[in-house]
Subunit: 133 residues, 2 copies
DNA sequence: TCTTGACCTTCCAGTCACTGGAACCCCTAT
DNA sequence: ATAGGGGTTCCAGTGACTGGAAGGTCAAGA
């Protein structure tokens, strides 16, 4: 299987797959013409990576998770710790974004949005700070 | 006022302020020894920038907002359009993160997190995709 | 057989918004 | 004189790709 088929199968851009090889996440073989060949194992790894990335895990987390995924004698607590930490980060980001949204949506609502210069948004940016509860 | 005072006043790191000068967002004067001097106007601009950045606006949005902020004949609709677009992006990001969080928190809950290798998280990453409603 | 077009390869540069660090200058107090 | 705590510039690195150039490979059609 060539790279573009692997890309189609996994939903990852070919460029990204090459990059993943570069940084040692996958190791496709090569055939005589130098093209990458993706077997079932590599395809599995790529799928795993695509899903883990979609869950927002960093590349380094993915590297660790992939190693655990392949290690039949892993402890599930190792995986859980990584996932929990990441979950906490996601929660924190959500909280940040909600604070931004709340502040900003108030400002947007207050703004007439016409051709006059009076603008509560600019005033608001000048004066308001983002509240984090 | 020297850069470290400006940093304290605005809450921005000195490095960041230098960077903002580099990319033309602020233009402090210099005194004879080459040190940057921040007057009231520049300090205002920095404060505005810090707040706009805290609201998640990109640097380029900040540049535009700053120009509008300084332009007494602006139309508030120009500001509102930028803010609305940004607000939509924030909403989208929140939705993405919530989808991640929901998927991941289910997986974390399902995982015993002990020293056995059986791990619903890894299985879940293998099998699940993140649902976006 | 030649050509066309769709593949594939490598490598380099750019993205965004900083951040760290080196090497050096300036000012004040001891 | 020296020590320290400012300040300056410039260069490189971050994360996770992404775009693009320059060129090799392959299968199908004229």
């Amino acid at each position: 299987m060539n790279i573009s088929d692997a890309a189609t199968q996994t939903g990852l851009p070919a460029k990204t797959i090459r990059y993943y090889e570069d940084i040692g996440l996958v190791t496709p073989t090569r055939n005589t013409n130098g093209y990458r060949v993706f077997g079932e194992t590599e395809l599995h790894k790529l799928t795993f990576l695509a899903r883990a990335r979609a869950l927002g895990f960093s590349i380094e987390d993915c590297r660790t998770l992939l190693a655990l995924y392949e290690d039949q004698s892993r402890a599930s607590s190792d995986v859980k710790r990584i996932a929990r930490t990441h979950l906490d980060e996601i929660e924190a980001k959500i909280a940040d974004l909600i604070a931004m949204r709340d502040t900003l949506s108030h400002l947007v609502q207050a703004c007439a949005g016409d051709d006059r210069p009076d603008c509560p948004i600019l005033k608001g940016i000048e004066a308001t700070s983002v509240r984090k509860d």
